[in-house]
Every structure is written in C-alpha cells, then in structure tokens.
C-alpha cells in the first residue's frame, strides 16, 4: 500500500510537470521554418526527447533515496527531516484521494500510450521481417515480390531498404537510383531506429503529434537532399511522384492523406540548393545534460527534496 501511494503521488506530481514543460516547449516548434533540415531534426528530436528524459530524471531522483536505502539503510532519510512531506517508496506518501485519482489517471494514460506505441513498433518489425523473408536482399536493399508502391527504410536491429518489384519495374533507372539513394540515406542515419525511439518518447510527452510530424518532414527533407546531391533534385521529384502514383492503385487502407506534404517536397527539390546534412551533436549534448541531472539528483537529493516541497505545497 505504501508503494502504491508513492507511485500514485509521483504520478500526480511528475506528469503535470511534464505536460507543462511540453506545452511551454511547443512554441519553439515554430522556429523550425527558418532552419535547415539537419537543424530541424535536432530541434524536433530535442523537443521530443526532453519531456521523456525529464520524466526519467524526475522519477529517478524522487525514487533514488528509497532505492539507496535498500543498499545502505543510513541513506533512509524519512526520519531525518520534518519540514516537508516525504515521498518514499517504502513508507509511502501522504495522499489525498483527489491527488490519488489524478495520479492513477496520469499513469493510465501514459501506460496506454506507451503500450500502443510498443505494439505499433512490434507490428512494424513483424511486417518488415515477413516481407524481407519473401524478398531478395542485396547490399541492404531487399526487393519484395509485391505490386504495391512499397519503398521504405525499416529495421531496428538490421536497418534495410524494402522496395517492391513494382517500384523497381515501374520507375525509370534514374528515378529508381534516386529513390534508393533517399532510402539509403535513412538507413545510413539510422532513421528507423530514431523513429522507434522517438515514437516511444512521444508516447510519454503530450502534444507530441505535431512535433513528430515536424520531425518526419525534416528527416524526409534531409533524405531528399542526400538523394538530390547524388542524383539531382528533378530525379528525386519524379521518383516521389512515380511512387505516389503506384500508391494510388487499389490497395485498401493506405496511410494518411497529406498531399500538401508531397507538393511541398517536390517544390523544395526543384528549387536550387540542396542543404548538406549536418551532425546530430545536440542529441548527445541533451542526453549528457540529462544524465548529469540524474547524477546531481542522485548524489545530492536536491531534486528529490524540491519534489517533496512541491508535494507538501499541493497536499497541505
């Protein structure tokens, strides 16, 4: 019961903070319009990862003293201070019913979203593996004997390009080269893995749909630019249109209809100057900053006590 009250209290405390942070970060998304694709990838990745990493930081630092007390009972600080309420895994937390309900609701929403995201990723992996088993693999490109307009980069453990026989047969040679160059750019940069990681991060963060869509646009633009650098923007444009035409042919339940996305990409490719793709150093910096935050919280219990102060203010 003590542990349950702790979990519910943490849910009521942490998730609203994450929602607030995510809402405050949302206006930064508007800045992407003036950025190159690599910078947009970094910005959107940071906006998607920050709430998830902040969640882990808060959960880690709030639970840290209780977990440390398992190893070293002298670290159990529950009896050591009386000026604010305690958030303790073993001794529980003072929990008014209305906050218990908020905590339960927050954990439920997050749990459902995470489970849905994980199931989606598992299904993508299953479908990708089944298609790969039917296809012929050559140099990380698997040609699948399908008449659908399939041209995807997939694979968490083994990133690869899945391209249907219909795409291979229907595209002109320079269009096919452009399409494969685009997908190879995704594989090279590990985009399927990033997509999976960010899908899970987005499940934790509210308002993530817009940010995820902006990340996808940026990643596609970057792959377009990589393909345009080797094959020319016009060939990439024609490849996009040819595959889109194949997708028009009868196939039940195709993806979201966003024709403006295709038009935007073609217009962009036909304009002069593909932007070279930059590094993703910001992501490493962000991860480092969060790990540092966890370390500080773990070592000095500062965040833990701050959370307890906030909890006291809420409950009393």
């Amino acid at each position: 019961m003590s542990t349950l009250s702790f979990v519910l209290a943490v849910g009521a405390l942490v998730w609203p903070i994450i929602w607030l942070v995510a809402a405050l970060a949302l206006p930064f998304l508007a800045a992407r319009r003036h950025l190159s694709p690599p910078s947009r990838i970094e910005l959107t990745t940071a906006l998607l990862l920050a709430p998830a990493l902040l969640t882990l930081t808060l959960l880690g630092t709030i639970a840290a003293p209780s977990l440390l007390a398992l190893i070293d009972p002298s670290r159990d600080h529950c009896l050591g201070h009386g000026h604010h309420l305690h958030l303790c895994l073993w001794h529980g937390a003072e929990l008014p019913p209305w906050l218990a309900w908020i905590g339960a609701a927050m954990w439920t929403v997050t749990g459902v979203r995470l489970t849905h995201a994980a199931l989606q990723l598992m299904e993508t992996e299953r479908l990708g593996a089944a298609l790969t088993a039917l296809g012929h693999m050559d140099d990380a490109v698997c040609v699948v004997p399908s008449s659908r307009g399939l041209c995807h980069a997939v694979g968490l453990l083994r990133p690869r390009v899945l391209v249907s026989k219909a795409v291979v047969e229907r595209l002109a040679p320079d269009e096919l080269d452009a399409a494969l160059a685009h997908e190879r750019a995704h594989v090279k940069h590990g985009d399927p893995r990033w997509s999976a990681a960010l899908t899970l991060a987005a499940a934790i963060s509210p308002f993530s749909g817009w940010v995820m869509a902006a990340w996808r646009d940026a990643v596609e633009d970057a792959a377009d630019d990589a393909a345009a650098a080797s094959c020319g923007g016009e060939a990439v444009s024609r490849a996009l249109i040819a595959v889109a035409r194949l997708r028009l042919e009868p196939a039940p339940g195709l993806g979201l209809v966003q024709p403006q996305g295709l038009e935007r990409r073609v217009m962009r490719l036909l304009a002069p100057r593909p932007t070279p793709r930059g590094s993703r150093a910001l992501w490493g910096a962000l991860a480092l900053a969060t790990l540092t935050g966890i370390g500080i919280g773990w070592g000095h219990e500062g965040l833990h006590h701050a959370a307890e102060e906030l909890w006291s203010a809420l409950v009393r």
């Binding site: 989606q120 479908l127 041209c151 995807h152 339940g253 295709l262 036909l270």
Partner: protein, 121 residues
Amino acid sequence: MSHLGELEQVVMEAVWAHPPSTVREIADRMRGDADRAYTTVMTTLDRLHRKGLLRREKDGLAWRYDAAMSRAEHERLVADALASALLAHGDAGLAALVDASADGALLDRLEALIAARRGHP
C-alpha cells in the same frame, strides 16, 4: 492472404515440387525434420484446400492435390497483403519514400511543372 504456418509451408513446397500428389505421396516425401503422421498431412492438406491454396480431385478412393497457384504467384499475393498492411500501419519505426497518397490531379500538376522546368531551365 495470410502467411503460411511452418507445416503448411512444407506441405505446399511438396505439392509445388510434385503436382498433383495424393496424401500418401506427400507424406512419403516428407522425411527428416519434416516427417509427419499421415493424418497430420491429410489435415494440413484439407486446411490448405479450404484456404483456396490447393485444388483437389478424386483419384479412386484418394484425393489428389494440386496447387491453385504457382509459388511465385503465392509469394506475390502474400507480399501484397503484407505490403498493404505495412502501408496502412502508420509510420512508427520506419521511413517511407512517400508517406501519403496524393490525388491524381496533384501528381499530374507536379509532373507538368517538372516538364515545364525541363523545357525552360
């Protein structure tokens, strides 16, 4: 069109290799790891027949099974079903060349734009 189970795949391979065949002939060809009881092979053949993957006709007292489609046709149908599922599934964990189905008029317009640019560089 669903993926075949392991035993169904083995049985289909046997039928594709030697069409048309009786249950006894197929069971006799399944040796080693693939060895199965006669009744198991019969049940599997009957299930594949009900799925529309096998045709059959009487040969005396026994049924003689033949594949309803070639292995290549079957693989194309399975691949089409899987590809459609992947296209409809959403974009978690993957990157698609084109993530949307546009209408034909837009594609015509974009093609005309490319042609016009080619004519007037």
